[in-house]
């Protein structure tokens, strides 16, 4: 079985940018995610962060999203997050970040 490598796939959807995350997001993938998110914010286009294919997230991954959320809030940049599968979303619930990040229902 090949290890689930962390990947970010950018996609266009109705003029909006979708960053689809898949695999395992940890310390190794966090810098890449931060870079992709910052670039998306700089482009100024509407952004959706899609976690539906994500298999795992640890505190480094959560940290990257929190940091981005802080910067986005400060800059008045709006975006939405599509929640991941249960084991991924559980990490957001336990850390209270389900309340802090702009999850779409």
């Amino acid at each position: 079985m090949k290890p689930p490598v962390f990947k970010i796939e950018p996609r266009e959807a109705d003029g909006a940018l979708v960053l689809a995350l898949s695999g395992e997001l940890d310390l190794a993938g966090a810098p890449e995610l931060t870079e992709a998110l910052d670039a998306a914010k700089a482009s100024g286009r509407p952004l959706t962060v899609d976690l539906r294919e994500l298999e795992f997230i640890d505190s480094s991954g959560l940290g990257a999203l929190v940091r981005f959320n802080n910067a986005a809030a400060a800059a008045g940049f709006e975006y939405i997050v599509l929640p991941g599968p249960p084991q991924v979303h559980r990490a957001f619930v336990l850390s209270g970040l389900d309340q802090a990040l702009p999850f779409s229902s």
Binding site: S59, S60, A64, R67, N70, R90, V93, S95, G96, A100
Partner: protein
């Protein structure tokens, strides 16, 4: 040997010489002829043949003397000499011939096949000898060239051979003496000589009672090892010092509340983590605190230390736990102190059952009631420290006499490939059916940590409200 083997033939008797030379040429040898011993010696010196054949009886320098001169000259002594003599001189000549160093002695008349076979046998012996000499030269060159110091010792420990590296250590006249240091080194495997460290290797020489002792200078390697060990020790001192600043020097105790704590990194002195616990005494009770800064190492530990001390300041300034945690979050987001930290704070009031709790994304404490199965003290959690503008509210639960609480960090309940809820469920189950705090600690560590080294740091803080005091 290239071409046909060359033979120098010396005989004053022309007929005899002709007969022998013919035999040799027919057998495939190149023959150079001289007529007396003196010419033989100078011809051998001038252009060494493969073999010299000398007639014993020659005028002037006879065969014996010529042989003696050839064999006493360093440059020609390796050339095999065959002596030919008449039968009537047999006995004396044979003895004398051998004494002069001749390799083979033949008496006349000699048969052609015997002469040729004898000479071929001498050539074979010579070629073997040459190989041995070559091997000896190679070995001797190697022996002298290697930088390790090598000595050959006899059964009494006397040095019979030493290479230049060994002589450089023990002096040029070491051969023929016993060296006490070598005896010591043979015992211990290592030898300190004038601030150099040598590893000592001893090999028995097969088929003899001699030993080969080899000293390798390992001073540089040992110095690197020592420096590494010193650096490691320094790092551990830093870690230990930092870890100590993370944890209370002592846990307060009073008759109402017993406390017990365990910290993996502090116990094993191996990893520094960002996990900490604290017990803060306030005007009307105590705060129980447990927290975890994301990441490991000295930086995480330092950040945990800052959070711990800041919370103490807020507590002493009289803020409630929700406001204190909000202020900590401000501190974290404003100063970028750390990316993220989780923590859980419980405020216990003397004489009251109600306990306030605020969680910033931290796994919930386990409540072990005196009269029921263990369960999670609270179900909900606030946001982790690090999200800008997060607000916090406390919730309340009852902590009655005889009840116990377990506060912990996620290293205790997280296992790769499973939901953290499963780990929490395991912890809750482990808390069942054991009394006291120390036994509870033992049970939890046994069942959740076991013998394996967890991937993450673990901190554990246990509390028990005394059942003797009337919990009014």
């Amino acid at each position: 040997m290239t071409g046909e083997p060359t033979i120098l033939l010396a005989d004053d008797d022309e007929v005899g010489r002709y007969v022998i030379a013919t035999m040799l040429r027919r057998a495939g040898f190149a023959v150079r002829e001289v007529a007396d011993g003196l010419q033989a010696v100078s011809a051998v010196l001038a252009d060494p043949p493969d073999i010299a054949v000398l007639d014993v009886k020659m005028p002037g320098l006879d065969g014996f003397e010529a042989c003696r001169r050839i064999k006493s000259n360093e440059a020609t002594r390796h050339i095999p000499v065959l002596m030919l003599s008449a039968t009537f001189m047999e006995t004396e000549a044979q003895v004398e011939g051998l004494e002069t160093g001749a390799d083979v002695y033949l008496t006349q008349p000699v048969e052609a096949p015997v002469l040729a076979a004898t000479i071929r046998s001498m050539l074979r012996a010579r070629s073997l000898e040459a190989e041995v000499r070559q091997a000896a030269r190679e070995w001797s060159t190697t022996f002298d060239a290697i930088s390790d110091a090598v000595a050959v010792l006899d059964a009494d420990g006397v040095v019979v051979r030493a290479n230049p590296a060994l002589k450089a250590i023990f002096g040029d006249d070491v051969v023929g003496t016993r060296v006490a240091a070598l005896e010591v080194g043979r015992e211990s495997g290592e030898l300190e000589l004038e601030e150099r460290t040598h590893s000592v290797r001893v090999d028995a020489m097969p088929g003899t009672d001699r030993l080969v002792v080899t000293l390798s200078d390992v001073t540089a390697a040992r110095r690197i090892e020592r420096e590494r060990a010193a650096a490691l020790a320094r790092e551990r001192t830093i870690s230990r010092t930092l870890q100590q600043t993370l944890l209370p020097e002592r846990l307060p105790s009073d008759e109402d509340l017993s406390l017990h704590a365990w910290h993996l990194a502090a116990e094993r002195e191996l990893i520094v983590g960002g996990d900490w616990y604290d017990v803060i005494e306030t005007r009307d009770g105590v705060w129980l605190v447990i927290g975890d800064v994301a990441g490991h190492g000295v930086a995480a530990a330092a950040q945990a230390g800052q959070l711990r001390h800041s919370l103490r300041v807020y507590a002493h300034e009289g803020f409630g736990i929700a406001e204190s945690v909000r202020r900590l979050n401000e501190l974290v987001t404003r100063t970028e102190l750390t990316d993220m930290a989780t923590m859980c704070v419980l405020a216990l009031t003397h004489g009251a059952e109600a306990v306030q709790v605020v969680s910033a994304g931290h796994p919930p404490p386990v409540l072990v009631p005196a009269d029921g199965p263990p369960r999670l003290a609270v179900e909900t959690s606030g946001i982790v420290l690090g999200a800008a503008g997060a607000g916090y509210a406390h919730s309340t639960f009852a902590f009655r006499p005889g009840d116990r609480l377990a506060l912990y960090t996620d290293g205790l309940v997280e296992r790769p490939g499973e939901l953290i809820d499963d780990g929490i469920a395991r912890l809750v189950a482990a808390c069942d059916g054991v009394t006291g705090l120390a036994p509870l600690r033992t049970r939890i560590v046994e069942q959740l940590v076991g013998d394996q080294h967890p991937r993450d740091d673990v901190a554990l803080l246990l509390a028990e409200r005394s059942s003797k005091v009337d919990g009014r």
